[in-house]
Symmetry: C2
């Protein structure tokens, strides 16, 4: 396979990102790949925020993965800055290729570069394969993740 590049997402990548968000057991019910307007608005908001890092993994010019890394300063843990990983997706044709590992390793390395002392993420309780994946990469399932829709 050709070389993999992990780079900031460009506006032209939005359709490919949304297609990956929707090609997922949970995402299928939550996304609207036929209407990109809300995604373009969200992209513009992310692009203007220096603490947001929306990236894609591209191979041979094709977008095959994505994640969003958010840098969050804070007072707790002696003024620690933490990072939060969201929206991790690997194209169905690339699953099992190690790309997920490459993406998370990129996020961990970038978090260190950004001065973070902690990387965190939440994963739906039903995604048990993902839980094993994150534990293999050195993450500890130390917390319960709560959500409340508004």
């Amino acid at each position: 396979m050709s070389d993999l590049e992990i780079r900031p997402a460009a506006p032209e990548d939005i359709p490919a990102i949304v297609a990956m968000l929707a090609d997922d057991s949970l995402g299928a019910q939550r996304e609207s790949p036929d209407d990109l307007t809300p995604y373009r608005m969200a992209y513009d908001r992310l692009a203007g925020d220096p603490n947001q890092h929306l990236v894609v993994a591209a191979r041979g010019g094709k977008v095959v993965g994505t994640l969003q890394l958010t840098v969050v300063p804070g007072l707790s843990r002696r003024g620690s800055t933490r990072s939060i990983i969201e929206g991790v997706r690997v194209h169905s044709a690339e699953r099992g290729s190690g790309l997920g590992t490459r993406l998370i390793e990129w996020a961990v390395d970038e978090s260190a570069c950004q001065g973070c002392q902690l990387v965190q993420l939440t994963s739906d309780v039903t995604r048990t394969d993902a839980h094993r994946f994150y534990e293999r990469l050195g993450f500890e399932a130390s917390h319960v993740g709560f959500k409340k829709p508004l």
Copy 2:
């Protein structure tokens, strides 16, 4: 008891906030209330970021609670903006007074004002009382929270 006010944290509130962060079974090992330098640096970083809302609850001029609300735009869930609650603390003299509920209700209301579609937080697996508290407030324990120190 006198009226409660929830307001943005001021630099003068830092010692009281750090004292509450440290007065906690987990925080006791992680905080350094005798050296406020890292907290003041983190405060300055928070104060310069419009997506960060560090607040205190004050009663009769005394700081009795705190939390940090972070607004995170994103592409997933049709370009949803979510908020993340961190660093929730209630002064030991106020526990059981309903102040925790007031703080979380403030965060939920503020999240709606900020255009968020989702509020989320993680809680250490050992904080079982906190888990019941969040469930009573309409949060669902739908996720596993992973952390990796750097």
